[in-house]
Amino acid sequence: MQTHTATRIEIIIESPALRALTRELDRAAVKGYTVLPVLGGEGRSGPWTAAGEVGSAGGMVAVLTMVAPERAESVLDSVFEVVSRHIGLVSVSECRVVRPERV
């Protein structure tokens, strides 16, 4: 199967900042992104859990976007625009995708 190189960007960010992030992703013209729920975790601000939370303030989400390698740099800049003020974690890795038109 022929595959095409792409960049996988994974962002873990507070739920209330999700709209700001996806707005930036839209502006950076990514072809798509996917949001996954997060149950809890731990960081410098201690452990937390989504259990029982009524509002979104306490929660986080994981956002996954695959982009063509040539656009990765500019997407990362847009992402950093939002993430720099938040507690989010951004990780980037190489992957291959089956259909190049989707990234």
Partner: protein, 322 residues
Amino acid sequence: MLELAVQNLLSPIVLSFVLGLVAAGLRSDLSVPEAVAKGLSIYLLFAIGYKGGVEVAAAGLDWRLALGLLAGAGLSAILPLIAYGLLRAMSRLSSVDAAAVAGHYGSISIVTFVAAGALLQSRGVAYEGWLVAVAATMEAPAILTALWLAQRNASARSAAGVPWREVILNGSIVLLIGAFLIGWATGPAGMAEVEGFLVAPFKGVLCLFLLDMGLVAGRNLARSRSALTVGVVLFGLLMPLVGAVTGLATAWALGLSVGGMAILATLAASASYIAVPAAMRVALPEANPAIYLSLSLGVTFPFNLAVGITLYLAAATWLSGG
């Protein structure tokens, strides 16, 4: 009075909150799934809004509604100024943290409103149904003041990111107002159709919700013990009293009933723990959420639940010469 206070402390509602606190303190793995907690809060908002609307439909439109909405918005906008002043005097919080906390105290906590309503009901005291609309109006203005305070003192950068649409049209405001309007439109006839869901199980659902709040508050407290200095905790106990006095005065000026006075006092005394924290994380991410979340949910909410609302009702009764 003392007897009534003890009676309130021994209600299933208060004890359910205590159970949550204790379970969290013991590090039990007891927890309510996030989706269930959100479902319970949708139920409570819908029920309380709907009931308020039905009462307005039954009692007829009260011209004080308009004044009440204005007064509520005013209280919400002004209380953060007092809170900010107190915080700067009583604690060493940075100006950004103080502004964020102040915003919470101008805004309101619907579940404190609901607990006050339950107390009034068990004492047979009525209150104006439209106060639920006033409650909705009090959610957002405080955020404006908080951001103004933060900007005045800190980086001007904060301005841009305020998601106004999201703040004003946040889920709990829309649901509360929407249910209020539905209740108003359908009136007692509509209520007859849905009371098997919205009225009969209400207090029991509230118990489970408070169990969950106790769990969340307990875990928050455990996590952010270091953020809560003595000055900050004292503020969390003093500010509700300041708010309540302001609320009582406003209610008195509006000519509300005893129950209405107690409710407006409770609203002013309560601190947001859903809408404002979310707005602050977006608009003032520099502020430390550990402070405002644990103060609002772990200090002021239990204080109001256990002592405050009994006190405000007593004060309202006294004020109206009862």
